[in-house]
Amino acid sequence: MDNLTDLPNSDGFFGEYGGKFVPETLMHALKELDETYAKLKNNPKFIEEIDQDLVQFVGRPSPLYFAKRLTDHYSGPQIWLKREDLNHTGAHKINNTVGQILLAKAMGKKRIIAETGAGQHGVATATVAARLGLECHIYMGAADVKRQSLNVYRIKLLGAQVHAVDSGTATLKDALNEAMRDWVTNIEDTYYIIGSVTGPHPYPMIVRDFNAIVGRELRKQSMEQFDQYPHAIVACVGGGSNAMGIFYPFLEESNVALIGVEAAGSGLMSGKHAAPLNDGKPGILHGAKSYLMQDKNGQVVDTHSISAGLDYPGVGPEHSNLKDSGRAQYIAVDDDEVLSSFHLVTKLEGIMPALETAHAFAALEHIAKNYKSNQHIVINVSGRGDKDINTVATMDGISLD
């Protein structure tokens, strides 16, 4: 087996997954991005600039917090929370956008585009574009514009334009389609900040690298706070950027279990879910080969999840390779489990997780019993739940008007 940390290869493949499956017009821009990134990623000045932004603008490092009452509740392993919800703009997404905006700047691009599902990546992109005074356009499925209205307004306040996408299922995948069409059309002056470890090479690698700060901090913090690496790391997986960021620095630590949690929606058996690693087949969407929710004719099928950020039929190619290689395991939890977990964590810890993040917490119901009281589990708290209170209220049958 290849050394997992050394992937992707130069063609952008993680094992059989990944690659660059895009219309010809984009090939040159991808090569240009690949070359720019290769040149800059080890450049001390570039690294220093990013590090400074991460500390002073994002607020890193994010704390590693011991969740005492949650630990007592499960009376199993010690549960620790990696607090990405405390980052500026409220989620891990900013780790990636502060890095990519510097690539855009280095490439002399004047116009920024991005897709967004839950709106967190849209906010994180609009934020860094505002800071550099760059024109910014955010594509968002019309259905998501409705259910994440708070974030839509935040994006607009930051000076970006929101384009509601009506085509297809009007969710994240259609927003990605539309962003790619914009990119094909405005290729010369536009930088596309993809928000997850998805899309054509080199995006899955770049987005992972920028998010890997989370896992690197955890290596240090876990040693400092409990004298060893965690026994397990749990993270939710939609496209999979928060999971990849915290998993990647531990790929070679074979004693650390890596557990990704997908959205089972109305249940894996119902077919109404967003869990390609649990119930999909390899296919090609948005520029990469990876596990995909599709029918027998190769058409991408509708997904369902309570959380807009996980409502996506594909997944980052590196996760597909980690699944096949057995290095990570991927489970799925349904909407009901997520909602009760959201309430549990909010009440026990005073931390309101995003509905995406609540998937990782809900996994504790399944896995906590497998660990002893002297073992440590880390949950990646990928984002905070303020944006979701309307959805939660609706699910609970409460009107906020």
Binding site: E24, A29, G168, I284
Partner: protein, 265 residues
């Protein structure tokens, strides 16, 4: 690349001999219905079309503008699958054994049907154009190579000279030059840039170079035909087909195609 000559190459040779420019017409299979698609294909040929490009609908056609996207959606509502399209081609061949047929679509649909693709030529398909595989890709490795089919590659204004030569080396049939930066049906045609690029491509390959994306009027067609070996018409036809989807009076479309075929002679 090893590949057997098809009726596509025959047609290219005969156009060459007659010193004629090629007219390629695109439509989406199953929009508004497979029966209409069959009727339109024959009608196109009678109106002067030399090659038929049949769109294979996909849920996420990222290179298409709004007009063709909507046609893909309509065709999928009719549950049009790749195997339906192979049957459509077979039916078309009962009356027309000569006009070359190119299937144009997206990788995932072909990947899901790679077995069927191995037999596609037996039902009368001549070539495949897959929008989202880079032209220099190793088709064998991707499991979709069929030496009885031509694999048409796209070259764009942004394609580097190095990649142009790589793509030319791996291509068969013809080269499809994308005339603009944008999705199908856009309108930023730049004739002088197009001419320069097509001339460069022709210096790298003996294959004919057809131009498409953004051709709307007989004037556009005329201008592009002067600098290429043929032209591809797509979005404007798909739009006209949609307008006629209830009345099914396709004569207007045939007149339009006839006008274009006269314009490029």
């Amino acid at each position: 690349m090893e590949y057997l000559l098809t009726r596509l190459d025959d047609r290219i040779l005969s156009l060459n001999k007659a010193k004629k420019k090629a007219l390629v017409a695109y439509l989406v299979a199953g929009d508004p219905s497979l029966d209409s698609t069959l009727e339109l294909m024959h009608g196109f040929v009678d109106a002067g079309v030399d090659f038929l490009e049949v769109g294979v609908p996909f849920t996420d056609p990222i290179a298409e503008g709004p007009i063709i996207q909507a046609a893909h959606d309509r065709a999928l509502k009719n549950n049009t699958s790749l195997s339906d399209i192979f049957q459509l081609v077979e039916k078309f061949r009962e009356k027309d054994p000569e006009t070359p047929i190119i299937l144009m679509g997206y990788m995932n649909t072909f990947l899901a049907n790679s077995q069927a693709l191995q037999e596609a030529h037996t039902s009368g398909t001549d070539a495949v154009l897959i929008v989202d595989i880079p032209g220099e890709s190793n088709l064998e490795k991707l499991g979709i190579k069929n030496k009885n089919l031509a694999f048409i590659s796209l070259i764009a204004p942004t394609t580097s000279e190095y990649r142009i030569s790589q793509i030319c080396n791996r291509s068969s049939g013809f080269i499809y030059y994308v005339t603009l930066r944008g999705v199908t049906g856009s309108s930023h045609l730049d004739i002088s840039e197009t001419e320069e690029n097509i001339n460069y491509i022709k210096s790298q390959t003996l294959l004919p170079v057809f131009a498409g994306f953004g051709i709307k009027t007989p004037d556009d067609a005329f201008n592009l035909s002067k600098i290429s070996d043929g032209i591809v018409i797509g979005s404007s036809l798909v739009e006209m087909i949609h307008q006629q989807s209830s009345k099914k009076e396709f004569k207007k479309i045939y007149n339009y195609l006839h006008e274009i075929s006269e314009a490029i002679k």
